[in-house]
C-alpha cells in the first residue's frame, strides 16, 4: 500500500510539472527581454534566451528540465539569477517556520475554542468563541497584518514590524534553517527569544483563518460526538465529565478535524504570500509572487513542485493519523 501510494504521489508530481510547464509557456511573455533589460540589443536578448534554453523547442525544454530534476537541478531563476534549488533552500525554511507556527496556533487555539464552544454550548463562552471564529474567517490576512503592525508595532511598540530577526543578535549556526529550532539546539536563548518575538505576529495573522475554520469544525464535530450513545454510556458508568470529554469525545471528534488540518496546510502555504509581503518575511511565498509576475518559469515550477510535494506528504501523514486515531481504520 505504501509503495502504491508513493508511486501515485510521484505520478501526481509529474502531472503537476506538465500542467505548470504548459501554463507558464502559454502566456505570451518574454522573460529574456525582462532579464536583458530595455537597453539590450536584439543580440543581447538572444544571448540571454540561449543561456536559459528559451530558444529550444517546448518539448526539448521540458525534457531538459525533467532530466535536470533528477540531479535536483531546478534551473536558474530569471529574477534572482541564482539556481532555483539554492533559492528554495534559502527561502523554504522561513516559510516552514512560519507555517508550522501558524499551524500550531491554529490547532491549539482553534481546537480549544471548538471544544469550549461545544461543551458549554449556548453559554457566554460559546458566543464569544463563535464571535472570534467568525471574525477570523471574515478578516483578510493582508488587512489584518497591516492593522496589527500599525497597532502592535507602530503605536504600542510591543512587537517588531517584521523580518525574522533583529540586527545585532547573534544568529545560531544553521542546521534546519528555522531560527527558533536552531537557537534551541544551540542553546542560544537570546536568538530564540528574538526569533519568537519576530515570529509571533506573522504566525498569528496567518493562523487566524485556519484557527477559525478548525474551531468551527471542532465545535460541530464535538456536538455530533456528544450526542452519541457511547457518551451517554460513559456518563451512565459514572465517569467524570473531564474524562468523558478528553478520553471519549475529543478523540472521536478529531477525525474530521485532522482532515481539515491537512487541507489547511495548503491554505497556509498559499496564504503565506500576502503575510510574507506585509511582514517582510523572506519565504517562498514572496519569492513565488515575484516569480509569477516576472514569468520566472523555473522559479514558478520549483515552488509549485515543492509545495505540491509538501502537500502530498502532509496528507499522507494525515491518512496515517487516521489509523492511529481510529483502530477500525487499517490500510
Amino acid at each position: 500500500m505504501l509503495l502504491r501510494r508513493l508511486v501515485m504521489m510521484a505520478l501526481v508530481l509529474v502531472g503537476i510539472t506538465i500542467i505548470t510547464f504548459l501554463l507558464s509557456r502559454v502566456v505570451p511573455t518574454d522573460p529574456a527581454r525582462l532579464i536583458a533589460g530595455p537597453r539590450a540589443s536584439a543580440e543581447g536578448v538572444a544571448k540571454v534566451r540561449h543561456e536559459y534554453g528559451l530558444d529550444l523547442p517546448l518539448g526539448q525544454q521540458y525534457w531538459r528540465y525533467m532530466a535536470n530534476l533528477l540531479d535536483w537541478n531546478f534551473g536558474k531563476s530569471f529574477h534572482s539569477l541564482r539556481p532555483v534549488a539554492q533559492d528554495l533552500a534559502d527561502f523554504l525554511p522561513a516559510t516552514v517556520e512560519l507555517t508550522l507556527a501558524a499551524l500550531l496556533f491554529a490547532v491549539i487555539v482553534g481546537n480549544g475554542i471548538g471544544v469550549v464552544s461545544a461543551v458549554w454550548r449556548n453559554s457566554l463562552a460559546d458566543h464569544l468563541s463563535r464571535l472570534v471564529a467568525i471574525g477570523g474567517l471574515s478578516t483578510p490576512a493582508f488587512w489584518l497584518g497591516i492593522l496589527a503592525q500599525l497597532l502592535l508595532y507602530q503605536r504600542l511598540g510591543w512587537l517588531p514590524f517584521g523580518g525574522r530577526h533583529s540586527d545585532g543578535v547573534a544568529m545560531p549556526p544553521e542546521i534546519t534553517g528555522l531560527i527558533t529550532v536552531d537557537s534551541l539546539l544551540a542553546g542560544n536563548w537570546a536568538a530564540l527569544w528574538d526569533g519568537l518575538h519576530h515570529l509571533l505576529l506573522p504566525a498569528l495573522v496567518l493562523g487566524i483563518e485556519p484557527m477559525a475554520v478548525l474551531a468551527r469544525i471542532m465545535r460541530t464535530s464535538m456536538l455530533e460526538v456528544m450526542r452519541e450513545q457511547y457518551i451517554l454510556a460513559a456518563r451512565a458508568k459514572g465517569l467524570i465529565e473531564r474524562v468523558v470529554i478528553w478520553k471519549h469525545a475529543i478523540r472521536n471528534a478529531l477525525l474530521s478535524v485532522v482532515t481539515m488540518i491537512g487541507l489547511q496546510i495548503g491554505y497556509l502555504l498559499g496564504g503565506s504570500i500576502l503575510v510574507e509581503t506585509v511582514f517582510s518575511w523572506p519565504g517562498i511565498g514572496r519569492y513565488s509572487a515575484r516569480a509569477i509576475v516576472t514569468a520566472d518559469y523555473n522559479a514558478v515550477m520549483g515552488v509549485t513542485l515543492v509545495v505540491a510535494a509538501i502537500y502530498l506528504a502532509t496528507n499522507f501523514l494525515v491518512d496515517m493519523a487516521y489509523a492511529w486515531l481510529d483502530p477500525r481504520i487499517r490500510y
Binding site: 511573455t29 537597453r39 458566543h127 497591516i146 507602530q154
Partner: protein, 553 residues
C-alpha cells in the same frame, strides 16, 4: 439552531471588534505635532541602534550586481556604493564632472583623443591596485559581454584593444576615428561604466562567461563600501572599506544595512518610528502624510524620469491628427493636480526639464475637447472608434481612466487592460504588430547620461522600433530620424540644441509620438538627524552613502 438575534450578534460583534481595532490603530500617536521641529532638536538614533550604522528600507531585492548587465535601480544602489567609475557627475549637477578613479582628464580639440590620469592610491576590495590595465579590462569586459549595458561604451568603441591604450600604469587613452564629445558623459553614467577587479573577476570566471554568473551576486569594486552580506529578500549589508582613497576625518557611516521591506505601509511605519533612517518609493498619499511628520525630511528632487503614454503610429492612430486629438483630449490638470495632488510636476515636451537641450518653450497641449473633435472629424474618424490602453501591473491605470473619461466625450471607447510585467515587456519591446499591439501604452523612462541623443534615439528613431529599442509606438518621422543621425557629430551645444528644438516640436506637435504626463521626482525620506543628502538626477535611486552623516556624531 442559531436564532436570528444570535446570528446578528456575531456579525455585529465581529464588526465592532474590527472597528475598535481600526480606531485604536488610527488614533494619533503621541508626539505627532504638526509643527516642524527646528534642526537643532533633531531626534537621536532610536535607542539600541548603533549611530554609525545607517539602516535603509528598500522595496525589493537587488537582483543583479554585474555592471555589464544590471539595468535596475536596486542594483545601482549597491553598485554606487561598492564600485566606481573614472568620473562622476558633481553634486547635484549633471553638466559637470568630478574625479573618481581618474584624478584628471583631457581631450584634444576635436574629441578624437581622450586621456585619463588615474589616481595612484585607489585599491580594489581584494587589495589589488586600480590601474590602467584594470580599467581597460573592465571596459573591454563590458563591451565583449554583449549584455544589457554593453551599449554604453560599445556605441563608441568597436575595437577595445586598439581604441583603449595603456600609456603607462596610471594613464589610459581612448582613441576615436570621429569626434566623441560624449565619452565623458558615458563614463559618468550610473549604468555600465564601473571598474571591476580583473583579479577577482578572472578567478570566478566559469566556462568563458567573463565572471558574469558570479558578478550577479557579488561585487569586485573599489568603492567606499564593500558587500559584507547579501541575504536575498532579506537584507544587504555594506561595510566600510578601510583602504578607500577618499576617507576624510569627518563622520562617515561604518555600516549600511539595506532591509528589504516590500510593503509600503511597513516602510512608512519603520521610518516614522525611527527604526530605519532612510527610505523611498511611496505613493502620493503616503508622501503627503510623511511630509506632515516633523521628525522626517521628505525630499522630492527634480529628476530625469518622465512618465508618458505612447501613441502608436499605426492603425487608427497612423494619422497625426488623431494623435493630436487624443493629446488635446487628455485632462492634464485633473491628472497632475487630482491624481498626483500637485506633487509631481507636469512634463513639458518629450524631454525631461533637466535634460540637455530641453526646450522650455516646447509646445504644451491644453485640454480642449472641441479642438479634439474637430481634428477627429478632419481625419475622418467616426464616433465609436475603439482603442486599447495597456499598462503593466503597478503601472498608471489612473492615466488610462482619465483618458477613458475624456475620450468617451469625443466618441472614442477606450478599453483599459493591465498585464503582468513579463507579458507587458514582451509586447512593449516586442515586434507584435497592430491590432494585437495596443494603440496606447504607458511607460516611464530616464536617460543613461545627460545627452539628448541618448534619450531620443532609443525612444523615437525608426531603427529603434520593437525589439531593436524602446520605440514601442513604432514611431517614424524622416526629419526626426535625420536630426538624431546628425546630432552625435555636433560638438557645439547651441547648434545641437537648435536642432533638438525642431525635433521636440515635430515629436510633440506636428507628428505626436507621446502624451508626456509627469516627471516623477527622485524621492528620499529620511530622519531629521541624517544630513548631507545630495541627490543627482543621473543617479536615480542611489544615495551616495559616503556623504551622509548623522547629526550630533
Amino acid at each position: 439552531m442559531v436564532s436570528k438575534s444570535q446570528c446578528s450578534l456575531y456579525h455585529c460583534g465581529g464588526i465592532v471588534m474590527i472597528l475598535a481595532a481600526i480606531l485604536a490603530a488610527c488614533a494619533p500617536a503621541a508626539g505627532t505635532a504638526t509643527e516642524v521641529a527646528p534642526a537643532s532638536e533633531a531626534p537621536p538614533a532610536a535607542p539600541g541602534r548603533d549611530p554609525k550604522t545607517l539602516v535603509m528600507a528598500i522595496y525589493s531585492n537587488p537582483s543583479d550586481l554585474d555592471p555589464a548587465s544590471n539595468n535596475e535601480q536596486l542594483g545601482n544602489l549597491v553598485l554606487d556604493a561598492t564600485t566606481e567609475g573614472l568620473v562622476r557627475a558633481r553634486g547635484e549637477n549633471i553638466e559637470e564632472f568630478e574625479p573618481q578613479l581618474a584624478e584628471r582628464w583631457e581631450h584634444n580639440e576635436d574629441f578624437t583623443l581622450w586621456t585619463f590620469y588615474l589616481r595612484h592610491n585607489a585599491k580594489f576590495h581584494d587589495g589589488s591596485a586600480v590601474d590602467a590595465e584594470a580599467v581597460k579590462y573592465s571596459f573591454t569586459r563590458l563591451i565583449d559581454a554583449g549584455l544589457g549595458m554593453s551599449f554604453i561604451l560599445s556605441q563608441f568603441i568597436s575595437d577595445p584593444e586598439s581604441q583603449m591604450v595603456v600609456v603607462d600604469p596610471y594613464t589610459l587613452e581612448f582613441r576615436f576615428e570621429s569626434p566623441t564629445p560624449l565619452l565623458i558623459n558615458a563614463l559618468s553614467s550610473g549604468y555600465g561604466s564601473y571598474v571591476v577587479s580583473p583579479t577577482t573577476v578572472k578567478a570566478n570566471e566559469k566556462e568563458g562567461d567573463l565572471g558574469h554568473e558570479w558578478m550577479q551576486t557579488h561585487e569586485a569594486g573599489s568603492g567606499a563600501y564593500q558587500l559584507a552580506e547579501f541575504s536575498p529578500n532579506e537584507q544587504v549589508v555594506l561595510t566600510r572599506f578601510a583602504d578607500w582613497w577618499g576617507w576624510d576625518e569627518g563622520f562617515h557611516f561604518e555600516k549600511i544595512i539595506l532591509k528589504v521591506v516590500p510593503e509600503e505601509s511597513a516602510r512608512r511605519s519603520l521610518i516614522e518610528k525611527g527604526d530605519v533612517d532612510l527610505t523611498y518609493e511611496f505613493s502620493v498619499e503616503n508622501l503627503e502624510a510623511l511630509q506632515k511628520n516633523p521628525d522626517l525630511v521628505v525630499s522630492l528632487a527634480p529628476g530625469l524620469a518622465l512618465q508618458y503614454l505612447v501613441l502608436g503610429k499605426y492603425g487608427p492612430l497612423e494619422d497625426a491628427r488623431v494623435r493630436q486629438a487624443i493629446s488635446y483630449a487628455f485632462d492634464y490638470d485633473g491628472y497632475v493636480n487630482g491624481i498626483y495632488k500637485g506633487l509631481y510636476p507636469r512634463a513639458v515636451g518629450v524631454f525631461p526639464v533637466n535634460l540637455k537641450c530641453h526646450d522650455p518653450q516646447a509646445f504644451v497641449y491644453t485640454t480642449d475637447l472641441e479642438k479634439a473633435r474637430q481634428l477627429l472629424e478632419e481625419a475622418g474618424i467616426e464616433p465609436g472608434l475603439e482603442l486599447r490602453y495597456v499598462t503593466e501591473e503597478g503601472g498608471p491605470t489612473s492615466a488610462g481612466q482619465v483618458l477613458q473619461t475624456q475620450l468617451a466625450q469625443i466618441g472614442i471607447n477606450l478599453k483599459i487592460e493591465q498585464m503582468d510585467s513579463s507579458s507587458y515587456v514582451g509586447i512593449f519591446y516586442g515586434d507584435v504588430e497592430w491590432p494585437e499591439r495596443p494603440e496606447i501604452m504607458a511607460w516611464t523612462w530616464w536617460p543613461d547620461y545627460n545627452d539628448p541623443t541618448d534619450w531620443a534615439w532609443i525612444l523615437f528613431h525608426s531603427a529603434a522600433s520593437g525589439s531593436s529599442g524602446a520605440n514601442a509606438g513604432f514611431y517614424s518621422n524622416a526629419r526626426a530620424d535625420e536630426i538624431m543621425d546628425l546630432a552625435p557629430a555636433i560638438t557645439d551645444e547651441a547648434e545641437l540644441c537648435e536642432l533638438y528644438k525642431e525635433f521636440q516640436d515635430i515629436v510633440i506637435r506636428q507628428d505626436p509620438a507621446w502624451i508626456p504626463l509627469i516627471e516623477p521626482p527622485d524621492q528620499a525620506i529620511f530622519r531629521k538627524d541624517i544630513r548631507g543628502y545630495q541627490g543627482n538626477p543621473l543617479y536615480r535611486g542611489t544615495f551616495d552613502f559616503y556623504r551622509l552623516t548623522r547629526a550630533g556624531e
